[in-house]
């Protein structure tokens, strides 16, 4: 496998995990503009665990996942006190604060970036992605998937029906943070170098765009969104700027013509009908 092909496939795998990191809070009705903060936390704590503490890279990546999940769980308490656009803005501010903090942490190189020595190859990353996808498919075939959707459809009714609204919202937020942390740690161990500057709000926005492009109605949407977002720019030849111009026009066109995203429940039913 050529180096170029491998790095594209790794990005595809990582982006799929990222898409689910944004998808989980979104199906619970939260527009999380702070996903990149948890990616950064996972990348830095995972990288630190393998570089400074000498953990094996896979264990270090899982450590990154755990740190991101723990932080996600803690900040979910104040963040979930806000709702709607305020929640989006709170997660956005959180992203900036986390990024600013890491830029000032000299233990992990501050603004100079952080080199991570240990390496994880494509097969392990692909296995992690497969695991995440299977987990998500399973999760959304259980009570949890239906309950979370119910909460985002109508909080009050969900509450009246006996669902633990706060618990489900917090679970979706924390799980999203955990996946973001995993993706960050895997990225750090494959590309061996991370820079806090890359984990800004715009990165969060891009991740959210993956999901919205694919569609939030079904659990398959994020896969398609991440695939399109990763592969389309590679397929479109020419300079990076032109790729983004075409890409932006595509989003505008798709959102104008098909605002619910590409993959919808109705589309899936039509495709699977005999």
């Amino acid at each position: 496998m050529s180096g170029y092909l491998e790095s594209v496939l790794v990005l595809l795998a990582i982006n799929m995990i990222l898409a689910y990191a944004a998808f989980l809070p979104m199906v619970a009705g939260q527009l999380n503009l702070g996903v990149a903060a948890f990616v950064a936390i996972g990348a830095y704590s995972g990288g630190y665990a393998s570089t400074a503490l000498g953990m094996p890279p896979v264990a270090a990546s899982l450590a990154g996942l755990c740190v991101a999940a723990a932080l996600g769980w803690i900040v979910a308490f104040p963040v979930l006190r806000t709702r709607g656009i305020y929640l989006a803005l709170a997660t956005f501010a959180l992203n900036q604060v986390v990024q600013g903090t890491i830029l000032n942490l000299d233990v992990v190189g501050g603004a100079a970036g952080y080199p991570v020595a240990a390496h994880i190859g494509f097969p392990i990353i692909a296995a992690f992605t497969l695991g995440v996808v299977v987990l998500m498919l399973a999760l959304f075939h259980t009570r949890f998937g239906i309950s979370v959707t119910a909460v985002s459809d109508d909080e009050r009714v969900a509450d009246v029906m006996g669902l633990s609204v706060r618990g489900l919202q917090s679970a979706a937020f924390t799980l999203g943070a955990a996946l973001a942390g995993l993706a960050g740690a895997l990225y750090a161990h494959h590309f061996n170098y991370i820079e806090a500057q890359n984990y800004g709000v715009l990165f969060s926005i891009y991740i959210v765009l993956y999901v919205l492009l694919g569609g939030t109605q079904t659990v398959y949407g994020p896969i398609l969104g991440a695939a399109v977002f990763t592969l389309l720019p590679e397929l479109l030849r020419g300079s990076a700027a032109w790729r983004y111009v075409i890409f932006a026009c595509l989003i505008i066109a798709i959102m104008s013509l098909r605002p619910q995203g590409v993959v919808t429940g109705a589309l899936l039913r039509r495709l699977t009908r005999q």
Binding site: L31, Q96, V201
Partner: protein, 290 residues
């Protein structure tokens, strides 16, 4: 020294305030977080640079910047608010983000990614107030910002369009029932927002003598913070928030160094969101649709 920091903060803050007004108008009237605003800001700044570099006099540069802001805001309106009523609430947000990506990359293609030096159109004059030095162009910029917001306030209070806008802010469906021409009034929000943003971009380019394809992002994020801190949907709150953010920023740099700025500014934003999400001048929380 302290006075100088405050003056610098207020000057920077007046640019944030203009952007915050654009955001707060879109949120207050349409409940829409318009992410194309950083793109319009940047385009105004880059066009100012281009016009001045090409030897055009500065009033023409200002006109070009403002025209681009107003016209492109109309284009954004076609693809965002028009679609909003028949689609999920996040669609306009997504489309406006796509416009930001589009504008930034078109400018990248046209002029490259370098930080451009904006030639100063007039000799630098400054006056000394107390122990602080104030540049006259900056002072004029601050004056423009205040006048623009004061007139917007009067328009909202006294004119027919302003009444229409306030009705739409309460409830778009009721407004339509009451005979407000929603389809014709809504573009006004976008155009006014675009003009304020473009004025901010022009003033920033002139006062700080720099422009780049990404200049809008940071300013807009600060503008959003300013809007929240002042109270969403309140234009005087946007001004207050903008000036506050400007002062917090210059003091963070002064006391803790340039790298601590984001922690200071966004830390305050987080604290406000958790403790008093309505902001300083905000009323009761409106049920946000998003």
């Amino acid at each position: 020294m302290l006075e100088q920091q405050i003056v610098n903060g207020v000057m920077l803050g007046s640019v944030y305030a203009l952007v915050a007004v654009a955001f707060t108008l879109a949120i207050g009237v349409l409940n829409f977080l318009n992410f194309s605003i950083p793109g319009l800001f940047m385009l105004a700044g880059m066009l100012t640079w281009f016009a001045l570099k090409s030897g055009l006099p500065w009033p023409l540069a200002a006109l070009l910047a403002l025209a681009s802001g107003g016209l492109l805001a109309l284009l954004v309106e076609r693809f965002t608010y028009r679609l909003m009523k028949h689609s999920a609430h996040f669609v306009p947000l997504v489309t406006s983000m796509a416009f930001l990506i589009l504008f930034e990359n078109l400018v990248l293609i046209a002029w490259g990614s370098d930080l451009q030096r904006v030639p100063v159109p007039f000799a630098s004059v400054s006056v000394t107030i107390g122990s602080a030095v104030v540049a006259v162009p900056q002072l004029i910029g601050l004056g423009c910002a205040v006048i623009a917001v004061a007139s917007l306030d009067q328009v909202l209070r006294r004119t027919r369009v302003g009444r229409g806008l306030r009705t739409i802010a309460e409830d778009p469906d009721t407004a339509a029932l009451l005979g407000v021409p929603v389809e014709r009034v809504v573009p006004v929000v976008f155009v006014v927002g675009g003009l304020f943003t473009a004025l901010g971009g022009f003033l920033f380019a002139i006062n700080y003598q720099q422009a780049s394809p990404f200049m809008g992002e940071e300013i807009a994020l600060k503008g959003i913070s300013a809007m929240v801190i002042g109270g969403m949907g309140n234009i005087w709150g946007a001004i207050l928030g903008g000036l506050l953010i400007g002062v917090i920023e210059t003091f963070s740099i002064h006391w803790f160094g340039a790298r601590a700025v984001d922690i200071g500014v966004y830390g305050v934003l987080l604290a406000i969101l958790f403790v008093r999400p309505t902001g300083i001048l905000g009323g009761a929380i409106r049920q946000a649709r998003m």
